[in-house]
């Protein structure tokens, strides 16, 4: 008798969303597009406009989704401070107007308005695990689109080898920037191969709403197999280049934070173990998984890179 082992992304037929609900959601997406015009007013009032999108079940997290309140009040965003309670301060970050330049080694450099991205990119919801280098984790339903879709518009040149993400630096609303000795703006990067991986996700929403500023709104990046600090927040520029970028944290503490920063429970941080993680919301301690459990999708990216410091 043949034994069938289900793949990580497969789910039982009984859990597939019924067709009428799917098309109902599409109507809702259309409604969402219609109300984008109301978004600035909603943001000014401290509320976030709805951003419904159909969930992609290929990336089932295998864990409960973190409560929205937890994910929006326990945040790392260094421009607002090195502590976790920056959510109130971050509300001062204006979310509109907002543009993202995509430039460098591309055929057609472009500056995208956030509304353009929301209406033209193929939005979907993905529930990803997020593993912070500080040994805590969350599960967040992000709304966004694959980075590859954005790169498809600007068409990277064959010579481009890296993608660099730059966070906004607005001293009038970001108190962290008063620490003039840090190498602002916050820079992060990945290889072009990592950028092209299907998991690499440009995030514009969470929990069915537009992305809160404390979570990196209005647009951030996320690669769920890497530690969270690799994900640039509130992005204003994406540059394709042939030179490997030196990221913000690499400049500050190169012995602790490197370019690759792939999750690996067997490689400790210099000051703590990475073997397990504290789940935000429950405080349960669970074992950390190699590549944060996404090895089936990304392990191939790192064959032949044994000389690189892949895990920090």
């Amino acid at each position: 008798m043949p034994i069938r082992i289900p793949r990580g992304w497969e789910i039982p037929e009984s859990r597939v969303t019924p067709e009428h609900l799917v098309f109902g959601r599409r109507k809702a997406i259309g409604l969402g597009a219609a109300i984008f015009g109301a978004a600035p007013a909603a943001l000014a009032q401290g509320t976030l406009a709805p951003l419904p999108a159909m969930r992609n079940t290929r990336y089932a997290p295998g864990r409960d989704i973190t409560a929205e309140r937890e994910a929006t009040t326990f945040n790392n965003f260094y421009e607002f401070g090195s502590h976790k309670t920056i959510s109130r301060e971050a509300q001062r970050l204006p979310q509109r107007p907002w543009t993202v330049k995509v430039e460098g080694m591309v055929e057609t450099p472009r500056e995208f308005g956030i509304e353009d991205l929301l209406t033209t990119m193929p939005l979907e919801e993905r529930v990803y695990r997020l593993r912070c280098v500080e040994a805590w984790s969350m599960v967040v339903p992000w709304t966004g689109f694959p980075l590859s879709a954005l790169l498809g518009v600007v068409k990277p040149l064959a010579s481009a080898r890296y993608v660099v993400f730059e966070t906004a630096a607005i001293p009038s609303v970001m108190p962290g920037l008063r620490q003039s000795w840090y190498p602002w703006p916050y820079i992060e990067g990945c290889t072009i191969a990592e950028a092209a991986n299907e998991l690499s996700f440009m995030v514009v929403g969470a929990y069915g709403k537009q992305l809160a500023p404390q979570n990196g709104g209005p647009i951030r990046f996320h690669q769920p197999w890497k530690y969270g600090f690799k994900a640039g927040k509130s992005l204003v520029r994406i540059t394709l280049t042939d030179r490997r970028p030196v990221s913000f944290w690499e400049r500050i503490q190169p012995q602790e934070y490197g370019f690759w920063a792939n999750v690996n429970p067997e490689v400790s941080h210099p000051r703590w173990s990475q073997a397990s993680e504290r789940v935000i919301g429950t405080n349960e301690r669970i074992p950390t998984r190699l590549f944060n459990g996404y090895g089936d999708f990304v392990a191939d990216l790192y064959t032949g890179l044994g000389n690189e410091r892949l895990w920090a």
């Binding site: 090195s82 502590h83 008063r178 003039s180 400049r251 500050i252 503490q253």
Partner: protein, 89 residues
């Protein structure tokens, strides 16, 4: 005499910092250049385990003052202490 000598050393340090780094080079930038990890750890410690406001309200302004100000202030304190000390004669 000892206090005045120490004060003089601090004043000399202040002058040297101002001449080598420039009059407006912040103390934080100097400490960051010497040991970036230590300053970062100090910030994390103050903001996470004491009060975030303490970092923003006290440490950041202090670290943003020109690097020569701190040794100059310490030198001034030693000079003041020397002047307040009763004479031995």
């Amino acid at each position: 005499m000892v206090l005045k000598t120490v004060a003089l050393l601090f004043f000399a340090s202040a002058l040297m910092l101002a001449l080598t780094l420039g009059a407006w080079w912040p103390l934080g930038a100097l400490l960051f250049r010497i040991n970036p990890a230590a300053l970062n750890s100090l910030q994390a410690g103050v903001q996470r385990y004491l009060f975030p406001e303490l970092w923003d309200g006290l440490f950041v302004p202090l670290l943003n003052t020109p690097a020569w100000v701190l040794p100059a202030l310490i030198g001034a304190c030693f000079l003041l202490a020397a002047s307040l000390r009763p004479g031995r004669g």
